[in-house]
């Protein structure tokens, strides 16, 4: 017996010890590796699984992220501000809505010293046509033919389509003199990449690789970091403790964990898209605007955003425009910048118009049944799940029976495409192109009946007026005209509620001012803080070395 009591005591002691230890939390301190010199930047951009394959083919999904620092596009589109940055092209013009003329930058060389010419651009585009597996942006869905002279590349489109220019302009260009000998660019691993970008591949090991500055870069004077180090493993613990200069990662309690770790850490989380609930408009009663209005008014979007992103992201306006950085595009006539406040009475009134009344604590419809719906979100997308749980709470409070379904990502994707849901969480907007933001959301071109796979317009919104506006946008060459059409598209989203915008999805930029400064920030929002795709080129050519 005494033995038992002693063991029991030991167990109790362990629990007590655990409780006491819990009381004193451990503040992790950032400890940069002293062997990394001041001119070298440690970036958490690439992730191995867990090893990294030496694949720098910019057209493959499994490429190394640094491919974006090696290969450059004609124009970079920043998705936070929607601004265009002329890059390998000094600019482009549309003499008519079916023709795009790019003027190619002079004095650019490939990293092996060969000059960059218009032929490279033509070659790249033609290669994408010949090997459709490499055409990840689908530019040949728009292009009819390509021609060039010494300084310009002229693209003839299949149909008038002004916004397609932006899409084509962001294609990464590869050197003809190397890629013309590649048999199948669709499976080529490109282990020794040669691009026009600011960085060349240095040492490559499966768990970490380095990049060295290309001294012949066309704006070499603007590149502050001489070397980049990209480890293949960047857990949150690594990021907080290893003294990273730049990382793209969501960190819980970032003020305490990242900023609190020292090393002059700072962060900027601008909106990178709108997280929204897609109603299934092909299903009753969600095809009823009054019901959608009731649902929309019953939401406290601020609380949903807080729950999802731990208070780091704002509620989103019902306009599909990212605020505050795309304020210029916003229709000023929309009240309160498109933010919809929670209003229980107004919600019940809207439900009343659709025949739903609150009886006891249940919202009963015309058929005598409680309004009941399920929300589908992907398993593992924890921020979405937190948001959905908050929505569930809020809608339950107004008498709706809300279920949450969390299939695996692939199954979720399938449900979304097939219209096999009541409400689904999803991202909308945030491409940087106003046209694409609205086109993928509203265009009837994507319309498919429930049960067939739609590639966009998952909510199955069928409004010819919206399509007419999108068609007008395609041929509008005048900025003011385009802005006006944009206003009308926002009105449609605001009034017709094809989606219920909830909160902004963040771009989780973590930076350190210890070695480099002039990072994009709320005060100086010159580009997205993300470490992948082409916008890092803007950041890498804007930074200043501290020492």
């Amino acid at each position: 017996m005494t033995q038992t009591r002693r063991r029991w005591g030991a167990a109790a002691l362990a629990v007590a010890a655990a409780t006491t230890l819990a009381a004193c939390s451990i503040q992790i301190q950032s400890a940069p590796d002293p062997s990394i010199p001041d001119d070298t930047m440690l970036i958490a951009a690439d992730t191995g699984s867990p090893m990294m394959e030496r694949n720098f083919n910019p057209y493959l999904a499994n490429k190394r992220v640094a491919s974006f620092y090696i290969y450059e596009p004609l124009v970079i589109l920043d998705n936070v501000t929607g601004e265009e940055f002329p890059w390998l092209a000094t600019g482009y013009e549309l003499p008519d809505p079916s023709t795009i003329v790019f003027t190619i930058r002079d004095g650019v060389t490939w990293q092996d010293g060969e000059p960059f010419t218009t032929d490279d651009v033509v070659f790249t585009l033609n290669m994408l046509k010949e090997f459709p597996a490499t055409d990840t942006q689908g530019v040949w869905g728009y292009i009819a033919s390509v021609e060039s002279d010494d300084t310009t590349v002229t693209i003839h489109l299949q149909n008038p389509d002004v916004p397609a220019a932006q899409l084509i302009a962001t294609t990464l260009i590869v050197p003809e003199h190397i890629w013309k000998d590649v048999d199948d660019p669709g499976s080529f691993r490109n282990p020794d990449p040669v691009g026009t970008g600011p960085y060349q591949l240095g040492n490559f090991a499966p768990q970490q690789y380095t990049m060295d500055k290309y001294e012949g870069y066309w704006q070499a004077d603007k590149v502050a970091a001489e070397h980049l180090i990209l480890p293949g493993s960047n857990t949150q613990l690594d990021i907080a403790t290893r003294g990273y200069d730049w990382a793209y990662s969501y960190i819980s309690d970032v003020d305490n964990v990242w900023v609190g770790a020292g090393n002059e850490n700072t962060y900027w989380f601008p909106p990178g898209g709108t997280i929204a609930l897609f109603p299934n408009l092909a299903k009753e009663p969600f095809d009823n605007l009054d019901v959608r209005q009731g649902l929309s008014l019953a939401l406290d979007r601020g609380a949903v955003g807080d729950a999802a992103a731990e208070g780091y992201m704002d509620e989103a306006g019902q306009t599909n425009i990212l605020l505050p950085y795309q304020q210029d595009d916003l229709d000023p006539s929309i009240p309160n910048s498109g933010l919809i406040e929670q209003n229980r009475d107004a919600a019940l009134e809207a439900f009343g118009r659709a025949g739903y009344t609150l009886q006891g604590d249940q919202l009963i419809g015309p058929d005598g049944q409680q309004l009941s719906l399920s929300i589908t979100t992907a398993n593992g997308y924890t921020d979405w799940l937190r948001g959905v749980q908050e929505v569930q709470r809020q809608w339950s409070a107004i008498g709706i029976d809300v279920k949450v379904s969390t299939p695996q990502p692939a199954a979720y994707q399938l449900a979304l495409r097939n219209g096999d849901y009541d409400f689904a969480m999803g991202g909308t907007g945030g491409t940087g192109s106003l046209f694409r933001d609205f086109n993928s959301l509203l265009s009837t071109d994507f319309l498919k009946p429930v049960g067939e796979e739609a590639s966009n317009n998952f909510e199955r919104y069928d409004n010819p007026d919206a399509q007419a506006l999108l068609d007008q946008y395609k041929v509008a060459l005048d900025d003011d005209e385009r802005r006006e059409i944009g206003y009308q598209l926002q009105q449609i989203v605001y009034n017709d509620l094809p989606v219920l915008a909830l909160y902004y999805g963040g771009s989780w930029g973590l930076m350190s001012n210890a070695k480099f400064t002039n990072w994009p920030s709320a005060d100086n929002p010159y580009a997205s803080p993300k470490t992948y795709e082409s916008t890092p080129l803007i950041v890498l050519t804007s930074l200043e070395a501290v020492k």
Binding site: S49, G138, G273, S455
Partner: protein, 357 residues
């Protein structure tokens, strides 16, 4: 045995060998008939396992392209063209299920599983051959160490029954083997890796090293393997201790042990030479199965420590619906468990004459 409950858990350890109590070769009959029947059953099980491996991934809703798109869609809308390009890159399965099955059987026979979907354009054999050595060394060595250490402690516990030498390993072993793998791994990682900075926190070797047969690389790799190894050891040791203790105690009561003692043999000799030798037999079965399961790696541990073994690969393959990779890995694991089972069966006959008949 890659399951969460990888090592046979103590009292649950079944001292029974596969097929052992299967009707023995009838004394009058031909032993070859028995062997042929066993081989037939082995092949049939193999075929069925191969077929299940084919069906399982296809049961999952959505295609590999959906899985890839779901990842991309987190960053914004995905265009029709992107989907088409990704499907073209992945070479998403074409043909009806029967054609796919025939193609798959051909791959099984030639051991050529084609290109992985998740890690396109890497081939399955490339991926498996990179991951396998790390898992074999890490999980294999730890399994052997755990078995030896656990068995010795089990013998000790049984021999010194009722004393602290019994209570400590048994209760401690039961407690440790009840730790969830990943939890132990996370705690070790946090304290030994980040707070005290004693050990590296991820990878199989230093970030700038490249695998080579050198002393430096060996030391480096060993250093990186310590935390994952300790995790597996902590969580699997208990099972072996309890298993050995429980088969050892009844043996100690057997007549021949008493007889040996009566003949004046030293207690230690009796314990090790006679009792333990007989008691270890049932545990060999579990050990064989555990060794067979080694190629499956340890998903949760490799996951937490970012260890580039088969378990990590397997998890990636399953969550990304990478049919070719999944099929190859499942086949490899199934095969090795089956073969290990087979070998243990034969070994058992060698070690225990009574089963030979």
């Amino acid at each position: 045995m890659t399951s969460v409950t990888a090592a046979p858990r103590g009292v649950d350890a079944d001292p029974e060998v596969d097929e052992k109590t299967e009707a023995p070769p009838s004394r009058s009959g031909n032993p070859w008939g028995y062997i042929l029947r066993k081989i037939g059953l082995f092949l049939l099980t193999l075929w069925a396992a191969v077929t299940v491996n084919f069906i399982l991934p296809r049961l999952m809703p959505g295609t590999p392209a959906d899985a890839a798109l779901a990842r991309l869609a987190q960053n914004g809308p995905v265009s029709e063209a992107t989907k088409a390009a990704i499907e073209a890159q992945l070479g998403v399965p074409t043909g009806n299920l029967f054609e796919q099955y025939i193609q798959y059987l051909g791959q099984v026979v030639t051991l050529n599983f084609g290109v992985s979907y998740t890690f396109y354009p890497q081939t399955v054999s490339e991926l498996v051959s990179t991951a396998l050595p790390y898992t074999l060394v890490l999980v294999g060595l730890v399994t052997i160490i755990a078995f030896i250490l656990g068995t010795l402690l089990g013998v000790l516990a049984a021999w010194k029954r009722g004393t602290w030498l019994d209570t400590l390993p048994t209760v401690g072993g039961a407690f440790m083997s009840a730790f969830p793998y990943f939890w132990t791994a996370l705690l070790l990682l946090f304290f030994a890796g980040y707070v005290w900075r004693l050990f590296p926190t991820s990878g199989a070797y230093g970030p700038t090293a490249t695998p080579a047969f050198t002393w430096d690389f060996f030391v480096d790799a060993l250093y990186h393997a310590i935390l994952p190894a300790v995790t597996i050891l902590i969580t699997s040791l208990g099972g072996w201790i309890l298993g050995m203790r429980n088969t050892m105690i009844p043996t100690l009561g057997d007549d021949y042990v008493a007889f040996a003692e009566a003949n004046g043999l030293k207690p230690r000799t009796v314990a090790l030479r006679y009792a333990a030798r007989n008691a270890i037999l049932p545990n060999l079965t579990s050990f064989g199965l555990a060794l067979g399961g080694v190629v499956g790696g340890s998903i949760l541990v490799e996951q937490v420590f970012g260890y580039p073994g088969v378990g990590y690969l397997l998890f990636n393959a399953v969550t990304n619906q990478d049919y070719p990779l999944m099929q190859a890995l499942f086949l490899m694991i199934t095969l090795s468990v089956l073969v290990a089972n087979f070998i243990v069966d034969i070994l058992y006959g060698v070690l225990d004459p009574r089963t030979r008949r």
